[in-house]
């Protein structure tokens, strides 16, 4: 083995068998690590590191400039007396409970509609999907203009339809409608994405099931309820898990549409994390709120894992 190392003139293909097994293994490992290193080092520093830091920070007091202090469970107990947190938690749940089923039903409906052999089907699908890729800032500003309570075309139309000006919805500007506006926006923007997942699910249903149902004289409605819906159950489960996690994390659209307001009517968890960190510079407490979000997402993930394992 010593010889092999010094024999630099021998071509690779000949030299290789002279290495011991251990040497070959070590070389293979080094090669493998060299493949992983560029990504893993970045991942370690900018993702894994901050995640561990987040857990530690949740049990600290820190304003970002003075010395960090150990806080024990202070930040945790503070959650229960922080009204803004409780509101944000509640609003996140409301957003999730409404937008998950609504988006799911819309996405399923779209998929069934556009799974039929229609001319221009590709165009219809692309049109449904486009809001998902369109930049949020642009669509949020146009959305706020279209839904402007005083001048926007939506309220003008409702007025023309004979609705009393006093009863016109205030959309993003009113306490009672702000959440509705944000939810409607979320459905409009993301349902095309979940439609694509449902379309893939529909491809997986055996056509024989429908043929058999046709022989039995089933109506389209019966076929939908007794074949499509049960066959799509795994897809629906997957979609609802994804939607739930997305809803827990909602922030961008709320910042752009309502800035969490009016008052605290659309304040959600991530907004509270953002405010506590970058407005109040209460970094430890902000991390504790983020940890609540993490526990929520983790719970959903564990439930998903358990249930899909049983199948």
């Amino acid at each position: 083995m010593v010889i092999a190392r010094e024999d630099y003139d021998i071509p690779v293909a000949v030299r290789r068998p002279l290495l011991t097994r251990r040497q070959r293994q070590r070389r293979a490992t080094l090669v493998a690590y060299s493949f992983i290193a560029p990504n893993f080092i970045g991942f370690l520093i900018f993702t894994l590191g901050p995640i561990l830091f987040a857990f530690a920070l949740a049990f600290m007091h820190w304003d970002g400039s003075n010395a960090m202090q150990f806080a024990g469970l202070d930040n945790f107990w503070r959650l229960f007396s922080d009204r803004a947190f409780l509101t944000a938690f509640w609003n996140t749940l409301v957003y999730t409970l409404v937008s998950v089923p609504a988006t799911l039903v819309c996405a399923l409906g779209l998929a069934v509609l556009l799974n039929q052999k229609l001319r221009g089907r590709a165009f219809f699908r692309a049109a449904m999907f486009f809001p998902y890729v369109a930049s949020l800032v642009a669509v949020a500003v146009v959305w706020n203009m279209v839904f402007n309570p005083e001048m926007g075309p939506v309220n003008m139309l409702l007025y023309e339809l004979g609705i009393d000006p006093k009863n016109l919805p205030g959309w993003a500007a009113s306490n009672s409608w702000a959440m509705v506006t944000v939810i409607l926006f979320g459905i409009w923007k993301s349902m095309g994405y979940y439609m694509v997942i449902y379309l893939a699910g529909l491809q997986g249903i055996s056509p024989e099931l429908y043929e058999a149902a046709n022989l039995d004289g089933a109506t389209s409605w019966q076929k939908f309820w007794h074949i499509t819906v049960p066959q799509l159950a795994p897809t629906s489960f997957f979609v609802s898990v994804m939607l739930t996690i997305q809803s827990f994390k909602v922030f961008d659209q709320i910042m752009l549409l309502t800035e969490g307001g009016p008052g605290t009517s659309t304040l959600v968890l991530v907004y509270h994390v953002y405010n506590e960190a970058f407005i109040s510079w209460d970094l430890g407490y902000s991390s504790m709120v983020a940890l609540v979000l993490f526990v929520m997402v983790l719970t959903v993930t564990i439930v998903q894992f358990r249930l899909t394992r049983e199948d």
Partner: protein, 283 residues
Amino acid sequence: MARKPLRLFGHRVHLQTVIAYLLAIAITIVMLLPFAWMLSASLKLDRDVFAFPIEWIPSAPRWQNYVDIWTRIPLALFIYNTTKLTVIVTLLQLFTSSFAAYAFAKLRFAYREVLFLAYIATIAMPWQVYMVPQFLEMRALGLNNTHLALICLQAFTAFGVFLMRQFYMSIPDELCEAARIDGMNEYQIWFRIMLPLSKPALSTLTIFTFVSTWNDFLGPLIYLTKTELKTIQIGIRMFITQYSTEYGLIMAASIVSLIPVLIVFLALQRFFVEGIASSGLKG
């Protein structure tokens, strides 16, 4: 069962098909209406934007809006910044992800499972949970208010490695074995065999990374406070908060920010749809 066919333009059509078309058209209109309104408003004077009934095609289109936005805000600079970030992040993401994924899928080495588990464990971890510590870390490294911070933030994702690994797993090992016998080293196998074979996965990763970097809002919002560093998203946002009543200009700037995404979307749409359908990840 078989319904009585209708007659329409001399063709026999089922009522169900007619309803399907009407529904599809109606929903498409609703989905695209905000974009049509945006385009229409971008060619109007501010005082005409909210005129009702809506004049969809302005009788005197104000093209001047599209000239003015370039001088009212440094839109060209914002576009340059965003393009620069998007291209660098996408290239780094493609290179490092496919490189690492090759090792995870095709090589045997110590701690492979543990290292891969580190990626898997963070895939479900929302960025929002650790965005604050990440910001503090970047600040400590002096990367606050630099584009490098955003590059580091987005270029090394677990998602990319995971997606590429799943694809490489579906390529038979025999192909690599044969190449090894032919005397290729692992780097050559990755470059000459795996990369050309993984075009679909690379395309999916490209379009996801491109769109998410181009459209990213919260990242630049946290990291970039200097105007000259801003991306198009927070640049337009800044414009909106400063000149909230210049509707025509805001709409024109928004249209400009949508164009690159529209082009990429139309060109790579197929990979987008396949990517979502096969991985179901991301979002």
